[in-house]
Amino acid sequence: MSDQARHRAPEDAAGPMVRAENVHKAFGHVKVLRGIDVTVPRGNVCVVLGPSGSGKSTFLRCINHLEKIDAGRIWVDGKLVGYQQKGDKLYELHDKAVAAQRREIGMVFQRFNLFPHMCALENVMEAPTQVKGQSKAEARRRGIELLDRVGLAEKARNYPSQLSGGQQQRVAIARALAMDPKLMLFDEPTSALDPELVGDVLDAMKDLARSGMTMVVVTHEIGFAREVGDQLIFMDDGVVVESGTPRDVLANPQHPRTRDFLSKVL
Protein backbone atom coordinates (compact mmCIF):
# COMPACT_ATOMS: atom_id res chain seq x y z
CA MET A 1 0.00 0.00 0.00
CA SER A 2 2.75 2.43 0.95
CA ASP A 3 4.59 1.33 -2.18
CA GLN A 4 1.55 2.06 -4.29
CA ALA A 5 0.97 5.33 -2.52
CA ARG A 6 4.52 6.44 -3.25
CA HIS A 7 4.04 5.58 -6.91
CA ARG A 8 0.83 7.50 -7.16
CA ALA A 9 1.44 10.41 -4.88
CA PRO A 10 2.88 12.88 -7.38
CA GLU A 11 0.23 12.06 -9.99
CA ASP A 12 -2.57 12.30 -7.48
CA ALA A 13 -1.57 15.71 -6.37
CA ALA A 14 -0.74 17.39 -9.62
CA GLY A 15 -1.27 15.04 -12.57
CA PRO A 16 -4.21 15.32 -14.93
CA MET A 17 -7.61 13.87 -13.99
CA VAL A 18 -7.93 12.05 -17.31
CA ARG A 19 -5.15 10.94 -19.57
CA ALA A 20 -5.91 8.92 -22.68
CA GLU A 21 -3.04 7.64 -24.76
CA ASN A 22 -3.45 6.21 -28.23
CA VAL A 23 -6.85 4.67 -27.47
CA HIS A 24 -8.21 2.22 -30.05
CA LYS A 25 -11.59 0.55 -30.15
CA ALA A 26 -13.29 -1.52 -32.83
CA PHE A 27 -16.72 -3.18 -32.98
CA GLY A 28 -16.08 -6.19 -35.17
CA HIS A 29 -14.53 -4.75 -38.32
CA VAL A 30 -15.64 -1.18 -37.66
CA LYS A 31 -12.79 0.82 -36.20
CA VAL A 32 -14.54 3.42 -34.09
CA LEU A 33 -11.56 4.90 -32.22
CA ARG A 34 -8.25 5.02 -34.04
CA GLY A 35 -5.72 6.51 -31.66
CA ILE A 36 -7.18 9.10 -29.29
CA ASP A 37 -4.88 11.21 -27.14
CA VAL A 38 -6.56 13.49 -24.65
CA THR A 39 -5.43 15.04 -21.38
CA VAL A 40 -7.89 16.76 -19.06
CA PRO A 41 -6.29 18.60 -16.12
CA ARG A 42 -8.01 18.66 -12.74
CA GLY A 43 -10.96 21.05 -12.53
CA ASN A 44 -11.07 21.55 -16.28
CA VAL A 45 -14.08 21.23 -18.55
CA CYS A 46 -13.30 19.43 -21.77
CA VAL A 47 -15.91 19.79 -24.49
CA VAL A 48 -16.00 17.12 -27.21
CA LEU A 49 -17.47 18.07 -30.57
CA GLY A 50 -17.84 16.00 -33.69
CA PRO A 51 -20.26 14.69 -36.28
CA SER A 52 -22.57 11.75 -35.59
CA GLY A 53 -20.76 8.42 -35.59
CA SER A 54 -17.34 9.96 -34.99
CA GLY A 55 -16.89 7.93 -31.80
CA LYS A 56 -17.62 10.54 -29.10
CA SER A 57 -19.96 8.34 -27.05
CA THR A 58 -17.66 5.38 -27.44
CA PHE A 59 -14.70 7.37 -26.13
CA LEU A 60 -16.73 8.56 -23.14
CA ARG A 61 -17.81 4.99 -22.38
CA CYS A 62 -14.20 3.83 -22.53
CA ILE A 63 -13.27 6.30 -19.79
CA ASN A 64 -15.43 4.45 -17.25
CA HIS A 65 -14.77 1.07 -18.84
CA LEU A 66 -18.32 0.50 -20.07
CA GLU A 67 -16.41 -0.41 -23.23
CA LYS A 68 -13.15 -2.31 -23.16
CA ILE A 69 -10.44 -0.66 -25.22
CA ASP A 70 -8.42 -2.70 -27.71
CA ALA A 71 -5.17 -0.76 -27.48
CA GLY A 72 -3.72 2.22 -25.65
CA ARG A 73 -4.14 3.33 -22.06
CA ILE A 74 -6.57 5.46 -20.08
CA TRP A 75 -5.76 6.81 -16.63
CA VAL A 76 -8.27 8.48 -14.35
CA ASP A 77 -6.81 10.25 -11.34
CA GLY A 78 -3.49 8.56 -12.03
CA LYS A 79 -4.94 5.04 -11.97
CA LEU A 80 -5.12 2.84 -15.02
CA VAL A 81 -8.77 2.17 -15.96
CA GLY A 82 -9.78 -1.49 -16.08
CA TYR A 83 -6.26 -2.88 -15.78
CA GLN A 84 -3.35 -3.12 -13.44
CA GLN A 85 0.25 -2.81 -14.50
CA LYS A 86 2.71 -5.04 -12.64
CA GLY A 87 6.21 -4.83 -14.05
CA ASP A 88 5.82 -5.25 -17.78
CA LYS A 89 2.65 -7.33 -17.46
CA LEU A 90 -0.89 -5.97 -17.73
CA TYR A 91 -3.60 -7.67 -15.64
CA GLU A 92 -7.32 -7.29 -16.19
CA LEU A 93 -9.04 -5.96 -13.09
CA HIS A 94 -11.73 -8.00 -11.38
CA ASP A 95 -15.35 -6.80 -11.85
CA LYS A 96 -15.37 -5.58 -8.27
CA ALA A 97 -12.33 -3.40 -8.77
CA VAL A 98 -13.76 -1.98 -11.98
CA ALA A 99 -17.02 -1.18 -10.15
CA ALA A 100 -14.98 0.59 -7.48
CA GLN A 101 -13.33 2.72 -10.17
CA ARG A 102 -16.71 3.59 -11.68
CA ARG A 103 -17.98 4.89 -8.35
CA GLU A 104 -15.61 7.80 -8.71
CA ILE A 105 -16.80 8.66 -12.20
CA GLY A 106 -20.29 10.05 -12.67
CA MET A 107 -22.07 9.66 -15.99
CA VAL A 108 -25.05 11.46 -17.46
CA PHE A 109 -26.77 10.00 -20.51
CA GLN A 110 -28.58 11.52 -23.44
CA ARG A 111 -31.75 9.58 -22.57
CA PHE A 112 -31.47 10.23 -18.79
CA ASN A 113 -31.87 6.53 -17.87
CA LEU A 114 -33.50 7.30 -14.54
CA PHE A 115 -34.90 4.24 -12.76
CA PRO A 116 -38.63 4.53 -13.54
CA HIS A 117 -39.77 2.44 -10.57
CA MET A 118 -38.19 4.82 -8.07
CA CYS A 119 -39.09 8.41 -7.25
CA ALA A 120 -36.55 11.19 -7.81
CA LEU A 121 -35.19 11.00 -4.27
CA GLU A 122 -34.93 7.19 -4.37
CA ASN A 123 -33.04 7.46 -7.66
CA VAL A 124 -30.50 9.72 -5.98
CA MET A 125 -30.30 7.58 -2.82
CA GLU A 126 -29.97 4.24 -4.60
CA ALA A 127 -26.24 4.09 -5.30
CA PRO A 128 -25.01 5.62 -2.01
CA THR A 129 -27.06 3.15 0.05
CA GLN A 130 -26.53 0.08 -2.13
CA VAL A 131 -22.96 0.62 -3.26
CA LYS A 132 -21.37 2.72 -0.53
CA GLY A 133 -23.41 1.33 2.34
CA GLN A 134 -24.45 4.81 3.41
CA SER A 135 -27.30 4.92 5.96
CA LYS A 136 -30.78 5.71 4.63
CA ALA A 137 -31.03 8.83 6.77
CA GLU A 138 -27.69 10.17 5.61
CA ALA A 139 -28.44 9.36 1.96
CA ARG A 140 -31.83 11.06 2.22
CA ARG A 141 -30.35 14.22 3.73
CA ARG A 142 -27.70 14.35 1.02
CA GLY A 143 -30.24 13.48 -1.69
CA ILE A 144 -32.53 16.36 -0.78
CA GLU A 145 -29.52 18.69 -0.64
CA LEU A 146 -28.48 17.62 -4.16
CA LEU A 147 -31.99 17.87 -5.58
CA ASP A 148 -32.18 21.33 -4.08
CA ARG A 149 -28.90 22.19 -5.76
CA VAL A 150 -30.37 21.36 -9.19
CA GLY A 151 -33.57 23.22 -8.28
CA LEU A 152 -35.85 20.20 -7.76
CA ALA A 153 -36.26 19.88 -3.98
CA GLU A 154 -40.05 20.04 -4.26
CA LYS A 155 -40.09 17.24 -6.90
CA ALA A 156 -38.30 14.72 -4.66
CA ARG A 157 -41.34 12.41 -4.43
CA ASN A 158 -42.21 12.52 -8.15
CA TYR A 159 -41.59 9.51 -10.34
CA PRO A 160 -39.59 10.05 -13.56
CA SER A 161 -42.77 9.74 -15.65
CA GLN A 162 -44.16 12.71 -13.72
CA LEU A 163 -41.17 14.92 -14.57
CA SER A 164 -40.34 16.88 -17.70
CA GLY A 165 -37.27 15.87 -19.69
CA GLY A 166 -35.26 18.76 -18.30
CA GLN A 167 -36.24 17.87 -14.75
CA GLN A 168 -35.37 14.22 -15.35
CA GLN A 169 -31.95 15.16 -16.63
CA ARG A 170 -31.28 17.32 -13.57
CA VAL A 171 -32.30 14.43 -11.32
CA ALA A 172 -29.84 12.28 -13.30
CA ILE A 173 -27.11 14.83 -12.58
CA ALA A 174 -27.99 14.79 -8.87
CA ARG A 175 -27.95 10.98 -8.93
CA ALA A 176 -24.43 10.94 -10.36
CA LEU A 177 -23.24 13.59 -7.88
CA ALA A 178 -24.55 11.56 -4.94
CA MET A 179 -21.56 9.24 -5.31
CA ASP A 180 -19.17 12.19 -4.84
CA PRO A 181 -17.38 11.57 -8.13
CA LYS A 182 -14.06 13.14 -9.03
CA LEU A 183 -15.00 13.26 -12.66
CA MET A 184 -18.27 13.74 -14.51
CA LEU A 185 -18.95 12.48 -18.04
CA PHE A 186 -21.85 13.97 -20.00
CA ASP A 187 -23.03 12.36 -23.25
CA GLU A 188 -25.15 14.90 -25.13
CA PRO A 189 -27.15 15.69 -21.99
CA THR A 190 -29.43 18.21 -23.71
CA SER A 191 -29.94 16.57 -27.13
CA ALA A 192 -33.18 14.82 -26.15
CA LEU A 193 -34.72 17.95 -24.64
CA ASP A 194 -37.19 20.48 -25.98
CA PRO A 195 -35.36 23.75 -26.64
CA GLU A 196 -37.01 25.63 -23.77
CA LEU A 197 -35.80 22.98 -21.26
CA VAL A 198 -32.16 23.02 -22.31
CA GLY A 199 -31.30 26.15 -20.31
CA ASP A 200 -32.06 24.67 -16.87
CA VAL A 201 -29.85 21.66 -17.50
CA LEU A 202 -27.00 23.80 -18.86
CA ASP A 203 -27.30 26.06 -15.81
CA ALA A 204 -26.91 23.07 -13.51
CA MET A 205 -23.84 22.00 -15.47
CA LYS A 206 -22.33 25.48 -15.42
CA ASP A 207 -22.87 25.60 -11.67
CA LEU A 208 -21.07 22.29 -11.38
CA ALA A 209 -18.19 23.47 -13.56
CA ARG A 210 -17.75 26.60 -11.43
CA SER A 211 -17.58 24.44 -8.29
CA GLY A 212 -14.37 22.95 -9.70
CA MET A 213 -15.62 19.60 -10.98
CA THR A 214 -13.59 18.00 -13.76
CA MET A 215 -15.96 17.36 -16.66
CA VAL A 216 -15.85 15.77 -20.09
CA VAL A 217 -18.89 16.94 -22.04
CA VAL A 218 -20.05 15.74 -25.42
CA THR A 219 -22.42 18.43 -26.67
CA HIS A 220 -23.49 20.50 -29.62
CA GLU A 221 -24.19 23.51 -27.40
CA ILE A 222 -21.57 25.87 -28.76
CA GLY A 223 -22.57 28.61 -26.30
CA PHE A 224 -21.90 26.29 -23.38
CA ALA A 225 -18.54 25.28 -24.87
CA ARG A 226 -17.51 28.90 -25.25
CA GLU A 227 -18.69 29.95 -21.81
CA VAL A 228 -17.41 27.18 -19.52
CA GLY A 229 -15.13 25.03 -21.68
CA ASP A 230 -11.42 25.16 -20.83
CA GLN A 231 -10.56 22.93 -23.71
CA LEU A 232 -12.31 21.75 -26.84
CA ILE A 233 -11.54 18.72 -28.94
CA PHE A 234 -13.03 18.04 -32.33
CA MET A 235 -13.34 14.36 -33.25
CA ASP A 236 -13.97 12.92 -36.66
CA ASP A 237 -13.87 9.32 -37.79
CA GLY A 238 -12.25 8.07 -34.59
CA VAL A 239 -9.43 10.58 -34.30
CA VAL A 240 -9.00 13.97 -32.67
CA VAL A 241 -8.76 16.30 -35.64
CA GLU A 242 -8.26 19.50 -33.73
CA SER A 243 -8.00 20.69 -30.15
CA GLY A 244 -7.39 23.88 -28.25
CA THR A 245 -9.25 26.46 -26.21
CA PRO A 246 -12.89 26.77 -27.28
CA ARG A 247 -12.39 30.44 -28.14
CA ASP A 248 -9.56 29.68 -30.58
CA VAL A 249 -11.06 26.60 -32.18
CA LEU A 250 -14.52 28.11 -32.58
CA ALA A 251 -13.29 31.44 -33.86
CA ASN A 252 -10.50 30.16 -36.00
CA PRO A 253 -10.80 26.47 -36.93
CA GLN A 254 -7.67 25.16 -38.66
CA HIS A 255 -8.88 21.91 -40.12
CA PRO A 256 -11.31 21.92 -43.08
CA ARG A 257 -13.50 19.27 -41.42
CA THR A 258 -13.82 21.35 -38.26
CA ARG A 259 -14.74 24.36 -40.38
CA ASP A 260 -17.28 22.32 -42.29
CA PHE A 261 -18.86 20.98 -39.09
CA LEU A 262 -18.96 24.36 -37.36
CA SER A 263 -20.56 26.00 -40.36
CA LYS A 264 -23.44 23.54 -39.94
CA VAL A 265 -24.01 23.87 -36.20
CA LEU A 266 -23.31 27.57 -35.65
Binding site: D95, A99, R102, F109, N113, F115, Q130, V131, A176
Partner: protein, 324 residues
Protein backbone atom coordinates in the same frame (compact mmCIF):
# COMPACT_ATOMS: atom_id res chain seq x y z
CA UNK B 1 -63.39 40.45 -45.72
CA UNK B 2 -64.13 40.62 -42.01
CA UNK B 3 -61.67 39.98 -39.26
CA UNK B 4 -63.13 37.71 -36.54
CA UNK B 5 -63.41 39.45 -33.22
CA UNK B 6 -60.92 37.54 -31.05
CA UNK B 7 -61.34 39.74 -28.02
CA UNK B 8 -64.82 38.37 -27.14
CA UNK B 9 -64.73 35.29 -24.87
CA UNK B 10 -66.89 32.40 -26.23
CA UNK B 11 -70.09 31.73 -24.23
CA UNK B 12 -71.27 28.08 -23.77
CA UNK B 13 -74.66 27.50 -25.43
CA UNK B 14 -77.43 24.99 -24.64
CA UNK B 15 -78.08 22.14 -27.06
CA UNK B 16 -81.04 19.83 -27.67
CA UNK B 17 -80.22 16.17 -26.77
CA UNK B 18 -80.60 13.76 -29.72
CA UNK B 19 -83.83 11.72 -29.69
CA UNK B 20 -83.54 9.06 -32.42
CA UNK B 21 -85.17 5.63 -32.85
CA UNK B 22 -82.46 2.97 -32.22
CA UNK B 23 -81.55 0.43 -34.92
CA UNK B 24 -83.39 -2.91 -34.47
CA UNK B 25 -81.38 -6.16 -34.35
CA UNK B 26 -83.75 -9.02 -35.34
CA UNK B 27 -80.75 -11.35 -35.78
CA UNK B 28 -80.11 -11.23 -32.04
CA UNK B 29 -83.56 -12.58 -31.22
CA UNK B 30 -83.09 -15.48 -33.64
CA UNK B 31 -79.72 -16.28 -32.06
CA UNK B 32 -81.22 -16.22 -28.56
CA UNK B 33 -83.98 -18.64 -29.62
CA UNK B 34 -81.52 -21.09 -31.21
CA UNK B 35 -79.24 -21.06 -28.18
CA UNK B 36 -82.15 -21.54 -25.77
CA UNK B 37 -83.30 -24.65 -27.64
CA UNK B 38 -79.75 -26.08 -27.72
CA UNK B 39 -79.33 -25.44 -23.99
CA UNK B 40 -82.62 -27.19 -23.21
CA UNK B 41 -81.52 -30.20 -25.27
CA UNK B 42 -78.22 -30.34 -23.40
CA UNK B 43 -79.98 -30.15 -20.02
CA UNK B 44 -82.28 -32.95 -21.16
CA UNK B 45 -79.21 -35.10 -21.94
CA UNK B 46 -77.66 -34.47 -18.55
CA UNK B 47 -80.75 -34.92 -16.42
CA UNK B 48 -82.48 -37.90 -18.06
CA UNK B 49 -79.50 -40.26 -18.38
CA UNK B 50 -79.22 -42.24 -15.15
CA UNK B 51 -75.48 -42.86 -15.71
CA UNK B 52 -74.72 -39.39 -14.40
CA UNK B 53 -75.89 -40.28 -10.88
CA UNK B 54 -76.05 -36.70 -9.68
CA UNK B 55 -77.02 -37.61 -6.17
CA UNK B 56 -74.16 -40.10 -5.84
CA UNK B 57 -71.76 -37.49 -7.16
CA UNK B 58 -72.88 -34.84 -4.68
CA UNK B 59 -72.60 -37.32 -1.82
CA UNK B 60 -69.05 -38.28 -2.74
CA UNK B 61 -67.37 -35.14 -4.06
CA UNK B 62 -67.01 -33.59 -0.58
CA UNK B 63 -65.82 -36.67 1.30
CA UNK B 64 -62.70 -36.31 3.51
CA UNK B 65 -60.32 -38.17 1.16
CA UNK B 66 -61.41 -35.92 -1.71
CA UNK B 67 -60.88 -32.78 0.36
CA UNK B 68 -57.51 -34.18 1.47
CA UNK B 69 -56.64 -34.66 -2.20
CA UNK B 70 -57.92 -31.19 -3.00
CA UNK B 71 -55.65 -29.72 -0.35
CA UNK B 72 -52.76 -31.72 -1.81
CA UNK B 73 -53.49 -30.40 -5.32
CA UNK B 74 -53.48 -26.81 -4.08
CA UNK B 75 -50.27 -27.31 -2.07
CA UNK B 76 -48.47 -29.00 -4.95
CA UNK B 77 -49.50 -26.19 -7.29
CA UNK B 78 -48.18 -23.55 -4.89
CA UNK B 79 -44.95 -25.41 -4.05
CA UNK B 80 -44.19 -26.32 -7.67
CA UNK B 81 -44.80 -22.73 -8.78
CA UNK B 82 -42.60 -21.25 -6.04
CA UNK B 83 -39.72 -23.61 -6.80
CA UNK B 84 -40.32 -23.23 -10.54
CA UNK B 85 -40.24 -19.43 -10.40
CA UNK B 86 -37.11 -19.24 -8.23
CA UNK B 87 -35.27 -21.81 -10.33
CA UNK B 88 -36.55 -20.14 -13.50
CA UNK B 89 -35.10 -16.79 -12.43
CA UNK B 90 -31.75 -18.46 -11.73
CA UNK B 91 -31.75 -20.22 -15.11
CA UNK B 92 -32.74 -16.98 -16.89
CA UNK B 93 -29.93 -15.03 -15.23
CA UNK B 94 -27.47 -17.78 -16.14
CA UNK B 95 -28.77 -17.69 -19.70
CA UNK B 96 -27.99 -13.96 -19.96
CA UNK B 97 -24.62 -14.09 -18.19
CA UNK B 98 -21.23 -13.53 -19.79
CA UNK B 99 -20.01 -16.94 -18.68
CA UNK B 100 -20.29 -19.34 -21.67
CA UNK B 101 -20.49 -22.42 -19.41
CA UNK B 102 -23.44 -21.03 -17.45
CA UNK B 103 -25.06 -19.94 -20.71
CA UNK B 104 -24.66 -23.38 -22.27
CA UNK B 105 -25.85 -25.25 -19.20
CA UNK B 106 -28.98 -23.14 -18.83
CA UNK B 107 -29.72 -23.48 -22.52
CA UNK B 108 -29.43 -27.28 -22.22
CA UNK B 109 -31.71 -27.21 -19.18
CA UNK B 110 -34.51 -25.35 -20.93
CA UNK B 111 -34.05 -27.44 -24.05
CA UNK B 112 -34.41 -30.71 -22.14
CA UNK B 113 -37.35 -29.81 -19.94
CA UNK B 114 -39.26 -28.13 -22.73
CA UNK B 115 -38.77 -31.12 -25.01
CA UNK B 116 -39.91 -33.82 -22.57
CA UNK B 117 -43.70 -33.96 -22.03
CA UNK B 118 -44.70 -33.49 -18.41
CA UNK B 119 -46.62 -36.77 -18.34
CA UNK B 120 -43.59 -38.71 -19.57
CA UNK B 121 -41.29 -36.86 -17.20
CA UNK B 122 -43.52 -37.71 -14.22
CA UNK B 123 -43.66 -41.42 -15.13
CA UNK B 124 -39.88 -41.50 -15.47
CA UNK B 125 -39.40 -39.78 -12.13
CA UNK B 126 -41.83 -42.14 -10.46
CA UNK B 127 -39.68 -45.04 -11.67
CA UNK B 128 -36.24 -43.64 -10.83
CA UNK B 129 -36.11 -45.91 -7.80
CA UNK B 130 -35.70 -48.90 -10.11
CA UNK B 131 -32.64 -47.38 -11.76
CA UNK B 132 -30.76 -46.31 -8.64
CA UNK B 133 -32.13 -48.02 -5.51
CA UNK B 134 -29.67 -46.00 -3.42
CA UNK B 135 -28.47 -42.44 -3.98
CA UNK B 136 -25.05 -41.52 -2.58
CA UNK B 137 -22.97 -38.39 -2.57
CA UNK B 138 -19.23 -38.88 -3.07
CA UNK B 139 -16.40 -38.83 -5.60
CA UNK B 140 -17.74 -39.53 -9.11
CA UNK B 141 -16.44 -42.76 -10.72
CA UNK B 142 -14.70 -43.65 -7.44
CA UNK B 143 -14.56 -47.44 -7.96
CA UNK B 144 -13.17 -47.00 -11.49
CA UNK B 145 -10.58 -44.51 -10.30
CA UNK B 146 -9.67 -46.98 -7.55
CA UNK B 147 -9.15 -49.76 -10.07
CA UNK B 148 -6.92 -47.45 -12.07
CA UNK B 149 -4.61 -47.00 -9.10
CA UNK B 150 -5.08 -50.52 -7.76
CA UNK B 151 -6.90 -49.65 -4.53
CA UNK B 152 -10.34 -50.50 -3.16
CA UNK B 153 -12.19 -47.23 -3.46
CA UNK B 154 -15.64 -46.50 -2.13
CA UNK B 155 -15.47 -42.80 -1.45
CA UNK B 156 -18.97 -41.86 -0.40
CA UNK B 157 -20.00 -39.19 2.10
CA UNK B 158 -23.54 -40.34 2.75
CA UNK B 159 -26.38 -42.14 1.04
CA UNK B 160 -30.13 -42.49 1.16
CA UNK B 161 -32.60 -45.07 -0.10
CA UNK B 162 -34.21 -43.72 -3.24
CA UNK B 163 -37.56 -45.06 -2.10
CA UNK B 164 -37.36 -42.84 0.99
CA UNK B 165 -36.49 -39.79 -1.06
CA UNK B 166 -38.91 -40.30 -3.90
CA UNK B 167 -42.15 -40.55 -1.96
CA UNK B 168 -44.97 -39.59 -4.27
CA UNK B 169 -45.81 -36.11 -3.08
CA UNK B 170 -42.30 -34.70 -3.39
CA UNK B 171 -41.54 -36.44 -6.67
CA UNK B 172 -44.66 -34.77 -7.99
CA UNK B 173 -43.63 -31.36 -6.72
CA UNK B 174 -40.07 -31.79 -8.01
CA UNK B 175 -41.11 -33.07 -11.44
CA UNK B 176 -43.58 -30.28 -12.04
CA UNK B 177 -41.18 -27.65 -10.62
CA UNK B 178 -38.26 -28.75 -12.81
CA UNK B 179 -40.45 -28.63 -15.88
CA UNK B 180 -42.01 -25.31 -14.87
CA UNK B 181 -38.59 -23.73 -14.30
CA UNK B 182 -37.80 -24.20 -17.99
CA UNK B 183 -40.89 -22.24 -19.03
CA UNK B 184 -40.45 -19.63 -16.32
CA UNK B 185 -36.83 -19.17 -17.41
CA UNK B 186 -38.02 -18.22 -20.90
CA UNK B 187 -40.64 -15.86 -19.49
CA UNK B 188 -38.16 -14.20 -17.11
CA UNK B 189 -35.58 -13.93 -19.86
CA UNK B 190 -38.08 -12.25 -22.16
CA UNK B 191 -38.96 -9.90 -19.30
CA UNK B 192 -35.33 -9.00 -18.67
CA UNK B 193 -34.68 -8.43 -22.36
CA UNK B 194 -37.67 -6.08 -22.47
CA UNK B 195 -35.95 -3.67 -20.06
CA UNK B 196 -34.11 -0.82 -21.78
CA UNK B 197 -30.36 -1.66 -21.77
CA UNK B 198 -29.76 1.94 -20.69
CA UNK B 199 -31.09 0.94 -17.26
CA UNK B 200 -28.44 -1.70 -16.71
CA UNK B 201 -25.86 0.71 -18.07
CA UNK B 202 -26.89 3.51 -15.69
CA UNK B 203 -26.71 1.11 -12.74
CA UNK B 204 -23.30 -0.15 -13.85
CA UNK B 205 -21.99 3.38 -14.33
CA UNK B 206 -23.00 4.16 -10.73
CA UNK B 207 -20.67 1.39 -9.57
CA UNK B 208 -23.30 -1.28 -8.91
CA UNK B 209 -22.26 -4.90 -9.30
CA UNK B 210 -23.99 -7.09 -11.84
CA UNK B 211 -26.07 -8.71 -9.08
CA UNK B 212 -27.14 -5.37 -7.65
CA UNK B 213 -28.09 -4.05 -11.08
CA UNK B 214 -30.21 -7.14 -11.73
CA UNK B 215 -31.87 -7.23 -8.32
CA UNK B 216 -32.48 -3.52 -7.84
CA UNK B 217 -32.96 -2.21 -11.37
CA UNK B 218 -33.61 -4.81 -14.08
CA UNK B 219 -35.83 -7.42 -12.37
CA UNK B 220 -38.27 -4.96 -10.79
CA UNK B 221 -38.88 -3.46 -14.23
CA UNK B 222 -39.11 -6.87 -15.88
CA UNK B 223 -41.97 -7.76 -13.50
CA UNK B 224 -44.69 -6.11 -15.55
CA UNK B 225 -43.80 -8.38 -18.44
CA UNK B 226 -43.21 -11.44 -16.26
CA UNK B 227 -46.28 -11.40 -14.01
CA UNK B 228 -49.20 -11.80 -16.46
CA UNK B 229 -47.86 -14.98 -18.14
CA UNK B 230 -46.94 -16.32 -14.70
CA UNK B 231 -50.65 -16.20 -13.88
CA UNK B 232 -51.34 -18.40 -16.91
CA UNK B 233 -48.57 -20.73 -15.86
CA UNK B 234 -50.21 -21.12 -12.45
CA UNK B 235 -53.51 -22.06 -14.06
CA UNK B 236 -51.74 -24.55 -16.31
CA UNK B 237 -49.90 -25.95 -13.28
CA UNK B 238 -53.12 -26.47 -11.35
CA UNK B 239 -54.55 -28.49 -14.24
CA UNK B 240 -51.33 -30.44 -14.74
CA UNK B 241 -51.45 -31.75 -11.18
CA UNK B 242 -53.97 -34.22 -12.62
CA UNK B 243 -51.00 -35.79 -14.46
CA UNK B 244 -49.52 -36.80 -11.10
CA UNK B 245 -51.58 -39.96 -11.31
CA UNK B 246 -48.60 -41.11 -13.43
CA UNK B 247 -46.11 -41.01 -10.53
CA UNK B 248 -48.41 -41.90 -8.69
CA UNK B 249 -49.20 -39.23 -6.13
CA UNK B 250 -52.10 -40.20 -3.90
CA UNK B 251 -52.53 -36.87 -2.16
CA UNK B 252 -54.12 -35.31 -5.18
CA UNK B 253 -57.66 -34.45 -6.22
CA UNK B 254 -57.97 -36.43 -9.45
CA UNK B 255 -56.39 -39.53 -7.91
CA UNK B 256 -58.89 -39.51 -5.04
CA UNK B 257 -61.92 -38.93 -7.26
CA UNK B 258 -60.80 -41.67 -9.69
CA UNK B 259 -60.21 -44.01 -6.76
CA UNK B 260 -63.79 -43.61 -5.56
CA UNK B 261 -65.05 -44.03 -9.11
CA UNK B 262 -63.09 -47.24 -9.65
CA UNK B 263 -64.00 -48.71 -6.28
CA UNK B 264 -67.73 -48.09 -6.66
CA UNK B 265 -67.87 -48.72 -10.42
CA UNK B 266 -69.41 -45.25 -10.76
CA UNK B 267 -66.62 -43.81 -12.93
CA UNK B 268 -68.58 -41.19 -14.76
CA UNK B 269 -70.08 -39.23 -11.87
CA UNK B 270 -66.63 -38.90 -10.38
CA UNK B 271 -65.20 -37.61 -13.65
CA UNK B 272 -67.92 -34.95 -13.67
CA UNK B 273 -67.04 -34.18 -10.06
CA UNK B 274 -63.42 -33.66 -11.16
CA UNK B 275 -64.54 -31.26 -13.89
CA UNK B 276 -66.61 -29.28 -11.41
CA UNK B 277 -63.75 -29.07 -8.92
CA UNK B 278 -61.30 -27.88 -11.59
CA UNK B 279 -63.85 -25.34 -12.86
CA UNK B 280 -64.16 -24.01 -9.33
CA UNK B 281 -60.41 -23.81 -8.65
CA UNK B 282 -59.51 -22.30 -12.02
CA UNK B 283 -62.32 -19.76 -11.68
CA UNK B 284 -60.72 -18.47 -8.49
CA UNK B 285 -57.38 -18.15 -10.27
CA UNK B 286 -59.02 -16.43 -13.24
CA UNK B 287 -60.41 -13.75 -10.94
CA UNK B 288 -56.91 -13.14 -9.56
CA UNK B 289 -55.56 -13.17 -13.10
CA UNK B 290 -58.09 -10.54 -14.19
CA UNK B 291 -56.90 -8.11 -11.55
CA UNK B 292 -53.22 -8.86 -12.18
CA UNK B 293 -53.65 -8.23 -15.90
CA UNK B 294 -55.51 -5.01 -15.29
CA UNK B 295 -52.77 -3.87 -12.97
CA UNK B 296 -49.80 -4.85 -15.10
CA UNK B 297 -50.99 -4.08 -18.61
CA UNK B 298 -51.57 -0.43 -17.75
CA UNK B 299 -49.94 1.85 -20.27
CA UNK B 300 -49.90 -0.80 -23.00
CA UNK B 301 -52.16 -0.32 -26.02
CA UNK B 302 -55.03 -2.67 -26.86
CA UNK B 303 -53.02 -4.51 -29.48
CA UNK B 304 -50.15 -5.11 -27.04
CA UNK B 305 -52.63 -6.35 -24.43
CA UNK B 306 -54.13 -8.80 -26.90
CA UNK B 307 -50.65 -10.02 -27.80
CA UNK B 308 -49.82 -10.60 -24.14
CA UNK B 309 -53.08 -12.48 -23.70
CA UNK B 310 -52.30 -14.74 -26.67
CA UNK B 311 -48.80 -15.44 -25.45
CA UNK B 312 -50.20 -16.27 -22.04
CA UNK B 313 -52.76 -18.68 -23.47
CA UNK B 314 -50.09 -20.32 -25.60
CA UNK B 315 -48.04 -20.78 -22.44
CA UNK B 316 -51.07 -22.26 -20.68
CA UNK B 317 -51.30 -24.86 -23.41
CA UNK B 318 -47.71 -25.85 -22.87
CA UNK B 319 -46.67 -24.34 -26.19
CA UNK B 320 -43.41 -22.44 -26.29
CA UNK B 321 -43.82 -18.99 -24.81
CA UNK B 322 -42.85 -16.47 -27.43
CA UNK B 323 -39.48 -14.87 -26.87
CA UNK B 324 -38.52 -11.66 -28.68
Amino acid sequence: MTIPDTSATPVPRDAEPIKAIPVRHPGRWVAIAVIAVLAAMFAHLLLTNSAFQWKFMLQNMFRPPVLWGLFGTVSITILAMIIGVVLGVVVAIARLSNNPILRGTSWAYTWFFRAVPRYVLLIVMGNLGILWPRLEIGVPFDTYLGELFGVQAHWRLFGIETRDLLVGFWVGVLGLALSEAAYMAEIVRAGMLSVDPGQDEAATALGMSRGQALRRVVLPQAMRVIIPPTGNETIAMLKDTSLLIAVPVTRELFFQLSAIGNRTFQVFPMLIAAILWYLFLVSILLVGQYFLEKRFSRGYGRAAQAKMKLEGLAAEHGANPEVP
